[in-house]
């Protein structure tokens, strides 16, 4: 396909030819192969699920394998069944028992069994490769019968189900991996040799099969005809490595590729309005927030909880949404895509009158001067300086005179990480796609303690107990309730003021449908189709 014109012509001829065949009554005529080309900056050294741990392998293994449980298409708002149809957690929170789906077969025709799950996870743990830390909490795995597997953890870990949705926990065909030299034994780090084979082919149950991988060049997936779920649209998917975003843009415009995964936000904006380009905008993974240090020595007036509350009520949330297309207002520092996270509907709204009253109550009826630290950079298309200027004008409304102090990223980060910034503007992406990630922003958490000096002894006993429970409760309903209470609490009395979750932006050919960005696997290829 050397240029868009011959491509279109070829497609037109193909379509016409097919129509003719069908018209002649050849309803069973051979269909042209449906191929999808994805332009992608390849970052992976492996596709073997026990070794691979990066965006590229996440995207490929998402469709080449299945995990026991998964997330919804576009976020991490709940845990959904995949290879496991149901599960239960023991009262002590240590043992997870999964019932496996019936009628699932691997690419070689053999049936999925509990033993495959046990083998895959123990191999992940024992090969001691990049993603192995995810399996560290596993103490033992027992295949109770063909379709029941029990996983026992070393300690209570409420985020375990969310972590199981990571493609590192892909379920592999134990016999096939063993035949390729794989082992789940304790010395697997030294004796397992299956990686070479598993980098070139997949032995899973997903909608696609890895056909070939030429590193730094292209990865080819073909449809798995025996897939247990709904068949995906494309027969063949070619993921070509285009390291430069500028080249991805050219290739997309010229029609060489159907979808570009790595365009910069300004490139996407420049493509807006092009007839043959479609654009996706959805909430991204970064929550932008203000930090108000609770140590009076460092934070000064900002250490006063009443001032912090006034700041939260003084921010013009609608304004930030207007500023960044597709962005949403978070209701807390819990990433909006997590289970039970407060989104825009439960977010604070601007209330200058109350904010001014709080300032007076705190003893600052005429306001004060304060310096705001932030990194002088543009992150995922959002200029921190632009937001900083808006924060400055928002807070001027309640008498806070903000002096902006942008710093070189590494320098500014230093002050943020060691907690010497009294007032700062930063952003956060969840380390874990589970509500426990929010505990970072509550007393006892790293961000709260090290960066905002907001300590457990500063809060009441009941809230401390609630936070402690949040770290160990495994019941889904209970967790929702606990995290709702914690978010309510944070809206009133927190050292942070989250104000914006900017969008992720992706561009593709206008005839591509079904694109959804996901924080875990980036892109689910099986959801894509062509108009």
């Amino acid at each position: 396909m050397t240029s868009p014109v011959p491509l279109r012509r070829a497609r037109a001829v193909l379509t016409a030819g097919l129509a003719l065949l069908l018209a002649l009554g050849g309803a069973a005529a051979a269909q042209a192969e449906r191929a999808l080309v994805i332009g992608h900056a390849e970052i992976t050294e492996a596709y073997d699920p026990a070794h691979a741990f990066n965006p590229t392998s996440g995207m490929i293994n998402r469709v080449a394998y299945d995990t026991l449980v998964t997330f919804p298409d576009g976020d991490a708002s709940e845990i959904l069944p995949l290879l496991a149809t149901s599960w239960s957690i023991s009262d002590d929170g240590l043992t997870y028992t999964f019932t496996l789906r019936e009628g699932v077969t691997f690419t070689d025709g053999s049936s999925l069994a509990a033993e495959d799950v046990a083998f895959s996870f123990m191999r992940l743990k024992n090969v001691q490769a990049q993603p192995s830390f995810l399996a560290d909490p596993i103490a033992s795995i027992e295949a109770i019968d063909e379709r029941t597997v029990a996983i026992t953890l070393t300690a209570v870990r409420p985020s375990f189900l969310a972590e199981l949705a990571n493609t590192a926990f892909s379920v592999t065909n134990a016999d096939a991996v063993r035949a390729a030299g794989g082992t789940d034994a304790a010395d697997a780090a030294e004796t397992d040799t299956a990686q070479e084979v598993l980098n070139q082919t997949s032995v899973g149950t997903g909608p696609y099969v890895l056909e070939s991988w030429s590193p730094q060049d292209r990865t080819v997936l073909v449809r798995n005809p025996d897939y247990w779920g709904e068949q995906p649209y494309f027969d063949r998917v070619i993921v070509v490595n285009i390291p430069e975003a500028a080249t991805q843009r050219v290739a997309l415009v010229a029609g060489n590729i159907d979808l570009a995964t790595d365009l910069t936000p300004d490139q996407v904006v420049a493509l807006e309005g092009e007839d043959d380009i479609g654009i996706y905008l959805g909430p991204g993974r970064w929550t932008h927030f203000l930090l108000m240090n609770r140590d009076p020595e460092v934070g000064g007036p900002m250490a006063n909880p009443l001032v912090a509350q006034a700041v939260r009520l003084a921010l013009d949330y609608d304004g930030y949404r207007d500023l960044w297309a597709g962005s949403v207002t978070p209701g807390s520092n819990m990433w909006v895509g997590l289970a039970g996270a407060y989104g825009q509907d439960k977010a604070l709204t601007r209330d200058l009158e109350r904010a001014r009253a709080l300032m007076a109550e705190a003893g600052y009826p005429d306001g004060f001067e304060v310096t705001m630290h932030y990194a002088d950079l543009t992150w995922a298309g959002v200029s921190l300086s632009t937001n900083a200027q808006k924060i400055q004008s928002d807070l001027a409304e309640i008498g806070i005179d903000v002096r902006l102090l942008p710093g070189e990223v590494q320098v500014a980060l230093e002050g943020y990480r060691n907690g010497t910034q009294g007032f700062g503007y930063w952003f956060w992406g969840p380390d874990k796609l589970d509500p426990v990630d929010f505990l970072e922003f509550l007393p006892g958490g790293k961000v709260s303690g090290e960066r905002a000096r907001w300590m457990p002894e500063m809060i009441d006993e009941a809230t401390r107990a609630l936070i402690a429970r949040a770290g160990v409760e495994t019941d889904a309903e209970e967790r929702l309730e606990i995290f709702a209470q914690l978010q309510d609490y944070a809206q009133q009395d927190s050292a942070f003021a989250p104000f914006s979750v900017p969008a992720v932006q992706t561009a593709y050919r206008a005839d591509i449908e079904g694109y959804v960005w996901h924080p875990q696997w980036g892109l689910d290829i099986a959801l894509l189709s062509r108009k």
Partner: protein, 339 residues
């Protein structure tokens, strides 16, 4: 001096050179203040003393530096460049995989550059100080000074995306299957497999990158050819040739150019080495999976065996290229024969 003696001398000179390169490359790669253990072991494994120790032993990091060097040299002599820490593949396999793409592009580029450069240089020297000369010199200047990656991007945007005159990024159309592996040079492999469509497509994809890199090379060659030819054309033997009444075309081609090309040949060896080693950005823009990007990724992850492997390879390429250049001298310049 007979040819064999000349050859032998060149080879003997090359041996200490290659040895010296191994020492320098080894020392530089080791002087980098970064720990390959941190760069290549996951966090969970870093806390495991047994695994860290196993890693040190596996890569010989627990040995003193001179022992490490001798081990490396010993393995190298047996054709073993070690295993890449990052890709977990033998470095030699990695090089075999990534080098052909670069060789294919560098070769076509140097040919394009030579053709354009010599033509430009001759035209420019013969019509010295005429508008043609100025035009050629401006083009040559652009070729030399314009950032290659920018030229590549403009080429792709205008010639490919807007006009559709050239192929897009990559070594092949994204829907075209690779020809069966033989040499790794897609054009040659497709030719031997009789896959004419793939051959046409591979050649087509070579055009734009070769032009871009070729233009860069041609700028340098044109300038050298011009100045060298001007010097030659002003020499006594050319005046003699003209005085004999020889046709101007023959004077320029036979007496002028053949003598003026000696510095160009010298340059070719260096330029070809440059093209093989230094096309990282061009390879990135054209999505060309070559050795440049492999080297870049190896160096950013402190992949010591891979860094050494690529360094050795590039050094070897320079040595071989210069060896060939020396050979060419022998044939082009009779003075060397009798030295």
């Amino acid at each position: 001096m007979p040819l064999y003696q000349y050859l032998l001398r060149r080879v003997l000179f090359a041996i200490p050179l290659v040895l010296g390169i191994t020492v320098v490359a080894f020392l530089i790669a080791n002087a980098v203040p970064a720990d390959p253990i941190n760069a290549n072991l996951p966090q969970s494994a870093l806390n495991n003393e047994r695994l860290v120790q196993a890693f040190r032993e596996k890569w010989g990091l627990d040995q003193p530096l001179h022992v490490q060097y001798l081990t490396y040299l010993g393995n190298l002599l047996r054709g073993d460049m070690g295993v890449s820490i990052r890709t977990n593949q033998p470095v030699l396999d990695d090089i075999r995989q990534f080098l052909p793409a670069t060789v294919e592009l560098a070769t076509t580029s140097i040919l394009v550059g030579l053709l354009l450069g010599v033509t430009f240089g001759v035209v420019s020297a013969v019509w010295r100080n005429s508008p043609v000369d100025y035009l050629v010199r401006v083009v040559a200047l652009i070729g030399v000074s314009f950032p290659v990656f920018l030229l590549a991007l403009i080429g792709l945007t205008v010639l490919h995306a807007q006009l559709g005159w050239t192929a897009g990024p990559g070594r092949l159309g994204f829907l075209v299957s690779r020809p069966p592996h033989l040499t790794g040079l897609y054009t040659i492999d497709a030719l031997f497999a009789g896959q004419w469509a793939a051959l046409r497509d591979a050649a087509w994809h070579l055009v734009l990158p070769s032009l871009v890199l070729g233009l860069y090379v041609s700028g340098i060659i044109a300038r050298i050819t011009r100045s060298s030819l001007l010097e030659v054309l002003g020499s006594d033997y050319v005046r003699t040739a003209r005085a004999k009444g020889q046709r101007e075309f023959l004077v320029i081609m036979r007496h002028g150019l053949s003598n003026a090309l000696i510095p160009v040949v010298t340059l070719l060896g260096v330029l070809y080495g440059n093209l093989l080693a230094g096309a990282v950005l061009t390879e990135a823009i054209f999505a060309w999976p070559g050795i440049g990007r492999y080297a870049y990724r190896a160096s950013t992850s402190q992949d010591f065996p891979a860094i050494m492997g690529v360094s050795m390879l590039i050094a070897l390429i320079y040595v071989v290229a210069n060896f060939i250049v020396d050979l060419l001298y022998f044939f082009i310049d009779p003075r060397i024969r009798y030295a």
